[in-house]
Amino acid sequence: MERKKSPVLSSILSLILPGLGQAYAGALSRGVSFFLGIVLAALLVHWRQAYLLYIGIVIAWLWNVWDAYNLAQEKKLSPTIPFILIALIMYIIGWGVTQIDLERLFTNVADVKPLVTSLIQPAVLERDIEQLVAEVKFESPCSDSPPEKGTPSPDEPYLILVDKTCGDPGDTFTVTGGNFWPSTKGYIWWSNLAGEMQFRVRYQGDFLTFQTDEEGNIPPTTVVVQEPFAEAKGKGPQLYRVQARMQREVGSPHLSQTFFLVVEKMLETIFLALMATTIAIFIAIPISFLAARNLMGGHSVTMFIYYAVRTILNILRSIEPLIMAIIFVVWVGLGPFAGVLALAVHSIAALGKLYSEAVESIDPGPIEAITATGANRIQTVVYAVIPQIVPPYIAFTVYRWDINVRMSTIIGFVGGGGIGFLLQQWIRLLMYEEAGAAVWAIAIVVALMDYASAKVREMIV
């Protein structure tokens, strides 16, 4: 006979600590669920300081008292109400934690427009660029013999100084010129005398531009004297080149440099996946035999190896390839080799498991039959085991290579080589048209691999 439970005691227990009354009434797992559910929800509400949600917790708590009262009388209520309450609290908190803001989806559409437009028009084609340059020398700071203002040329593009030929950094001076393409926009460049240090001059944040008239003359343009380059600091008066530059596209469109760069990096990506997969195959095959229960069972030593190998594979598989790539980048340096290692280690773990399951699912019949003919162990493996595992091994390998190509396209984001490295750089430099080319290349290659691997697997299995 079971001892009678007191409903009052049970409900008081649950009032003190949710779930305690249920545990007292003999429903231990129900009690643990109530305890965890209510306490965790309360902690989360406290953390988010969403005090209004305490109402829900109070209701759930009271329901839990009522449930404990009923349980003690062996009446089991359906816990739908507290379940919905707790779930609701979780979703409200989740909404806040993940900062869901649907309004922004609509108000910030303009920000994504250039990116999307560039993705639609990737920098695959380009035209040759023709450039016009004219320059004049300027001195900063002034010396005893400042340079000439320069003379207009009758037919060549030219640039001359109008007011000053020297000045301190921060001063302004005026340039003018002629014989450029008419009605075209151009930029002012600043470089040291040797010419290896150069940049486009900015004025109030934007690049300093000029617009030629119908005759191709540059209107007087004010330029600010730039700070000296680092190596010229404190060395007294220096000469600088002030240039006017103009560019235009000529000729017919042809495949861009970006295109060839993307193709090259894409090939690197595919090879990265190939090498990683191949390395993984050679290591995963012997491991898979150690991780197959049907081969390792029957002896405590082999079973220990089985569990050890399984555990290592499970741990390795739970580490994302991207995290592994970060480790290998530190280890062997930036570049595709780090990516190969990261993907190989992850693939060993994944293939090891898949292969070992293929070994576990083989039909023992042929093994029995071949053993019965008087064949030795190696012959039995060659004639009865290998024919059965080759098709699934090939299928899993192709599938893995497919996944590795996919992974290797982004492993470059953390420095693991391949096209991801380029993509990530272009995005950071806001070179969206180039990034678009990379994104397209990834999409095409991944889709092709996906199709090819599905076909191969269809053929084999």
């Binding site: 029995e368 039959a369 019965a372 003919t373 008087g374 064949a375 030795n376 059965q388």
Partner: protein, 252 residues
Amino acid sequence: MLQIENLTKVYDDGTVALDNVSFEVPDGEFLVVLGLSGAGKSTLLRCINRLIKPTAGRIIWDGEDVTAAKGDELRRIRRHIGMIFQEFNLVERASVLTNVLSGRLGYVNPWLSIFHYFPKEEIDRAMRNLERVGIANLAHKRADELSGGQRQRVGIARALMQEPRLMLADEPVASLDPVLAHSILRYLEQLNREDGITVICSLHFLDLVRRYATHVVGLKDGQVVFQGLPEEITDQRFKEIYGEEAERVTIT
């Protein structure tokens, strides 16, 4: 002469599959082992070629202790014991010829065989054995393209490659329809009569037992409950082996 003495097999989970089984099989006999599923028939046959290691008891074949044999010696014994199976146990993705040749693995050079090399005379032997079971034309088909009856004939051809003096047949016709069952058993009968191969075959159907067996051993719960000639199995005896609810199923 095959002598089975006090053979007992207890599996790891405690199941007693064979309980002190003893009988003798003179050379040239067609012995049928009769019994329900789980009566220990398969375990008994597998103990004879040591696919299963018995817990206790001895099996003596032509004066040699099979139960004590190890390694090379065991393999040498095995290669003279052919075996065919209910589920045929062919390597499905290999060709018929490869399946048949694999029956010869106990004889050929093991290193060459790993690279699937077999001498010409072995390939000829395989073709002769396929002809014998009437499917030489299927030699280069894949085993999984064959029908059940054809597969079992491949199984017989594979066993014949061993030049067996003893043939174990574990419910060879249980996966086949009645017409095919007779054709397979007739091959076994032919081997038994013409080649003098001793056959030990487990069967379910009494009609087949009466038609083919020269001697019968009945097993129930791992124990021998009947030993004698097929004619001696009356309906009463049959019920002793198969239990009270058993009804005889007629097969023609």
